[in-house]
Symmetry: C2
Subunit: 374 residues, 2 copies
Amino acid sequence: MTENQSRRSFLQNLGVGLGTTAAAFTVPSLVSIPESKSKYEGKKLGIALVGLGSYAKNQLAVGLEQTPNCYLAGIVTGTPSKAEEWMKKYNIPKKNVYNYQTFDQIADNKDIDIVYVVLPNSMHHEYVIRAAKAGKHVMCEKPMANTVKECQEMIKACKDAGVQLGVGYRMHFEPFTKEVIRMSREKVFGNVKFINSNFGFTIGDPTQWRLKKPMAGGGPLMDVGIYCVQGSRYITGKEPLAVTAQFGPITDPTRFKDVEESLSWQFDFPDAVTVNGFTSYKTNIEQLYITYEKGFVQLSPAYSYGPIKGRTSQGELNLPIVHHQANMLEAIAREFLETKMFPSHISGEEGLKDMKYLTAIYEAARTGKKIKLA
Amino acid sequence: MTENQSRRSFLQNLGVGLGTTAAAFTVPSLVSIPESKSKYEGKKLGIALVGLGSYAKNQLAVGLEQTPNCYLAGIVTGTPSKAEEWMKKYNIPKKNVYNYQTFDQIADNKDIDIVYVVLPNSMHHEYVIRAAKAGKHVMCEKPMANTVKECQEMIKACKDAGVQLGVGYRMHFEPFTKEVIRMSREKVFGNVKFINSNFGFTIGDPTQWRLKKPMAGGGPLMDVGIYCVQGSRYITGKEPLAVTAQFGPITDPTRFKDVEESLSWQFDFPDAVTVNGFTSYKTNIEQLYITYEKGFVQLSPAYSYGPIKGRTSQGELNLPIVHHQANMLEAIAREFLETKMFPSHISGEEGLKDMKYLTAIYEAARTGKKIKLA
């Protein structure tokens, strides 16, 4: 089992959520995508995946087999054997296969509408900018990059090139998450008062890039804590005002030479909403618990590939179980076919904001000070 | 509606827990108390309540009507009309009725085995010590007092007088809580990894003593946050090593002139267990969420008068719904009849430990520093 398989398998089989037993993962159907509108008939956006790790292979490529309005048109990989395998499996013509040296020639390839960067975090900056310079619209995995400055440069490069930039924030398209956002914004239970947002898992292979700060930019906060930060923003629809944070103890110095093992933080949001977050590479936890004036909502699992489960003070939430990546990519494709833009809530600016908050959390934890954000 | 009625009604009707709607409170049956053992036949400890506020009236006195081995034998009140009312209702002889001036004469009253102090926090110290000097065993409501020094003096007074001292920590006797303690100690889901422990409610009458620091010793942390602190200790069976904490913003300066409106804290426990807590007088929340190596347990409601609800990663917890105060008082009575001692997990030493942790949380919040506890 490779390091990535180990992590991704965990995210699929988490079994730490609401009443979830560690049952086998079942591939969800794409029930939340309505029939393709006739105006898109026959039109499919071509997507090229850059980096063929586990997320590209087991989530994005699988998702792209289910999407009416976009498809896997090309690949970029440094491993010739992977190129062969993918060409066969997905019927990809050789002219749509690149390596990291030939990547920039993608500019001349009319089959490719969108480049999706699925590389380790430290490589997002370079490959998003090269994709933009090649005139391609770009999707980038989260976290958007390793630093605020990198995010700003990526946004500028895409703007200068006149291409769209999106961050792979799949939860924005997921039905339980969308319903909780709706309930929060429409004040179904009154105003939001307090949020617990936790995401952590037990990391495997001690040699993997996620444990190397130069490649990952940080530890679990960069990898999965970012979901909790995003979560508190999409639930409240507001930006945090200040943050305090604390590193947890290092119990495993072999794995955690470079990055934090666990981390807690506290956001002050407008309207006196407190958000207490926690992330870890040594604890299996995944929950979003929101208290309102007149009730509560809980998602658990809240952030992994599903099935997401939810309940409120009124009872269980029964909503469609979707394939997260198919669902996201199809929504992006349709928005683009209709408006020539990516959805605004997954924009580079959103990725940049999260990066500022992640950076502030690290600063708060390092200094012990409350960091003002607004 | 008086201030206390308002608060106590809230605790009964919380409706912020697991799948709880704000349904009418139903009086629970005392199903968890087994039939009285024959060796106690006919033996009933006499309990005198000191202070006849809402908790004494609606919880303790009601509970004492259901307890085979203890009963309401006497009262101490400064309000003659209350004395009349209670004497009639509970058939209490005039000789077992005291006011705050005559209280010390209780020393000569053979009907009274245990004095239960249910006064505002600032009065616990004086009345526990007076009860001890009168040679009576003493139960004291939580928080045990307003300061560590007061707790130490109360413990010493009881020791010097050779009487038992207990704090009204009713959750230790509650079936869901006991089951979660068992599952944690027996490692049913492996070791505890992380805990969220939250308890808050929306406070009513702005003139009530709970909002006055001299009487209450502090705000929601002293009143309900103490349950979260206790909770993290009885779940782990360990003592915290260090704490950080943060006051929430004051949005209601009329009510919160004197005490905090809300408060978050983070305990480092042994074995790298992080406990993130939150308490508030402006947010309805009540949950204990424990993540283990291989699953989770959630109680919500977790701390109010019930019914407590619980679930684990294996499914719902189905356990008896009890009257918390009857259940606690009967357990204490039986332990005392058998051993001449109160149960050790509600001892004055336990109350003192909690007071040290509450004091450290306030210090951490005030200074912004991490406070070492061990």
